[in-house]
């Protein structure tokens, strides 16, 4: 499998990444190198092998329905949440207008 310039341009657009012609030209062989590298896995015969969902066998843990039980994964941390935003106003993230 390999990708062409058009596919790379589409992937960039879906990811909302702007690429000029030169960058696209450079990206196509890079993409194809990565794909070729991963495709080596296809050489392994996996017939009769269950698809692996995790590297180590363990079950999905569930959390209890308790608000802010663990401060690391709870709310009321607006300062922290907004700290890295390029722009925040009145407690909101402020982004360039995005009406379609």
């Amino acid at each position: 499998m390999s990708v062409d310039r058009k596919t790379v341009a589409k992937i960039a657009s879906l990811a909302r990444i702007k690429m000029d012609e030169e960058e696209l030209d450079r990206m196509v062989p890079e993409f194809n190198n990565i794909i070729a590298f991963v495709e080596q896995l296809g050489e392994v015969d996996t017939s009769g092998v269950e698809p692996m969902t995790a590297v180590i066998p363990q079950a999905l843990r569930l959390r209890d329905d308790v608000v802010d039980a663990d401060p690391l994964t709870g709310g009321n941390v607006r300062e922290k949440v907004l700290a890295n935003a390029p722009l925040a106003e009145h407690g909101f993230f402020a982004v360039p207008k995005v009406i379609e």
Binding site: K10, S13, L14, A15, R16, T53, A54, Q58, A59, L60, R61, L62, R63, D64, D65, V66, V67, D68, A69, D70, L72, T73, G74, G75, N76, V77, R78, K80, V81, L82, L87, E89, H90, G91, F92, F93, A94, V95, P96, K97, V98, I99, E100
Partner: protein, 497 residues
């Protein structure tokens, strides 16, 4: 069942409808974080580092959200998948900090189920089964505000990560009425189960409406999807408009474009929303941050055991065990709040009169629907904020049931209860409204009425039997409505021979 048809210039068209309903799961915390789901908090207050998609944060599913989705699935007799998995739905938008929504495409939690609807409220026995393809669990997105700043949009992530159930129907509906009945029934079940509050105006339940048209019995047409419709009425209006629009396009020789549309409640019309179809390329893949979700039998058993009696079963019981009419049973079971109120009233009424529930159920149901709902309507209230409690209502009903007051006086007492909040017995006592069953007093009143209306007595005896009602009325009037009507009837019959 009469079939709904769009009349075009080339003949009749059939409408095919499928609904995807998004229902917010009732839970304290979000689907994958410990942040609160509370409505109306300060912007970005209920946002954890997980919801803001900070690097290195990992999602851990909330057991309650899974449980509620499973219980919902059981309530629509669906297959519950003990093995399901979360997938990433990739798209970039300012309301989605992760750059993907965690959803379930390939292996949903709940598989095929079904719902029985009664599209015609006056004909509750005319039912239709609507297939449900699946229910999966996913994250809600944040909220964008475009009108607060001239060049900026503001982002509030409080809703980001709140658990939603997406309930996907089969394209089994054929009219706006059926779609409306489906949404109402689904909402009713969600409220019974307690898995979603069903408040469409607050956005905790909204529907994506898929519509296509075809010549009756022909091949399925191309469908459009009208997004985020937030009331039963709007769902019906969107279908009506969209079906008409599609027929017009097709009859003018055009083709239907498979697209996403938006419903405008102001005009009752739909319009195209996204022109770029490539925006739909979501590149789903299993979320590597989450292991498969595996449920054991004990979990499923608890889910099943905690299900309440559902509306269909309750309606059946009201008819078969309590002896209510199909109409009354339908009215009382449609909303869980109404059913709870009725059952509390029934229990208290039965206890107050020392009778079995089945003996007083008809009286209580009729009275609740005709008298009490009417009184509530008059003051613009509902059962939830009723000024008269079910215990107070039961006391009044018992007074009527035991014959202490007549049904007519009961209406008057209820009115006073609404005005003053006083108990029925106190009002009856204070205003001296106790029903007179003493035949001596009634006989005296009857004698006076007959004496004053000698001409009418003659006419009655000559065969004008309709006058009987007049004598009853006059007697009741003479006794300020307090006479026991049964005794009045007996005395009158005896006297008029």
């Amino acid at each position: 069942m009469s079939s709904y048809r769009i009349h075009g210039t080339t003949g009749e068209w059939e409408v095919v409808i499928g609904l995807e309903v998004h229902a917010q799961v009732t839970s304290n915390a979000k689907l994958f974080s410990g942040a609160s789901t509370e409505f109306g908090s300060e912007p970005n207050a209920n946002v954890s580092l997980v919801d803001a998609a900070m690097p290195g944060m990992l999602p851990v599913p909330n057991r309650e959200c899974i449980r509620q989705a499973v219980r919902t699935g059981m309530a629509i007799e669906a297959q519950i998948n003990k093995w399901s998995r979360f997938d990433r739905k990739n798209y970039f938008y300012a309301d989605l900090p992760q750059g993907y929504q965690i959803s379930q495409l390939y292996h949903p939690l709940v598989g095929e189920g079904q719902l029985e609807i009664s599209p015609d409220e006056k004909n509750p026995d005319q039912t239709k089964i609507i297939g449900i393809e699946r229910i999966h669990v996913e994250q809600d997105a944040g909220k964008l505000m475009h009108d607060q700043h001239p060049t900026m949009s503001y982002v509030d992530l409080n809703r980001s990560g709140v658990a939603l159930m997406e309930i996907v129907s089969r394209p089994d509906m054929r009219s706006p009425a059926e779609a409306g009945a489906y949404v109402r029934k689904l909402r009713s079940i969600l409220r019974y189960v307690g898995s979603c509050d069903g408040n469409m105006e607050e956005g905790s339940m909204r529907a994506d409406v898929n519509v296509s048209v075809r010549k009756p019995g022909g091949e399925l047409g191309t469908r459009t999807e009208t997004k985020n419709v937030n009331s039963v009425r709007f769902v019906m209006a969107a279908i009506e408009h969209e079906a008409r629009r599609q027929v017009d396009v097709l009859e003018e020789g055009g083709t239907i474009v498979q697209e996403t549309r938006l419903f405008d409640p102001g005009t009752g019309t739909t319009r195209s929303m996204r022109s770029k179809e490539e925006a739909h390329d979501y590149r789903y893949f299993p979320d590597p941050d989450l292991l498969p979700l595996e449920l054991d039998d004990a979990f499923l058993e608890e889910c099943r055991a905690s299900l309440p009696e559902l509306p269909d079963a309750k309606r059946k019981r009201y008819i078969e065990v309590l002896g209510l009419s199909a109409y009354n049973a339908g009215v009382l079971t449609a909303e869980v709040d109404t059913a709870r109120w009725f059952e509390a009233l029934l229990a208290e009424t039965a206890a107050a009169q020392g009778k079995a529930e089945a003996h007083v159920a008809k009286q209580a149901a009729n009275w609740l629907i005709s008298e009490f709902f009417g009184a509530l309507n008059k003051v613009g209230r509902s059962l939830e904020d009723s000024p008269v409690s079910h215990a107070q209502a039961a006391e009044l009903l018992a007074l009527i049931g035991k014959g202490t007051i007549s049904a007519t006086i009961g209406k008057q007492v209820l009115e006073t209860m609404f005005e003053t909040g006083d108990n029925a017995a106190a009002i009856v006592e204070r205003e001296g409204l106790t029903q007179q069953s003493d035949s001596g007093a009634i006989e005296a009143a009857v004698d006076a009425v007959l004496a004053a209306n000698g001409d009418k007595v003659e006419q009655y005896k000559a065969g004008k039997e309709a006058l009987f009602g007049f004598f009853v009325g006059q007697t009741m009037k003479a006794m300020q409505g307090k006479a026991n009507p049964q005794v009045v009837n007996e005395v009158l019959k005896a006297k008029l021979g």
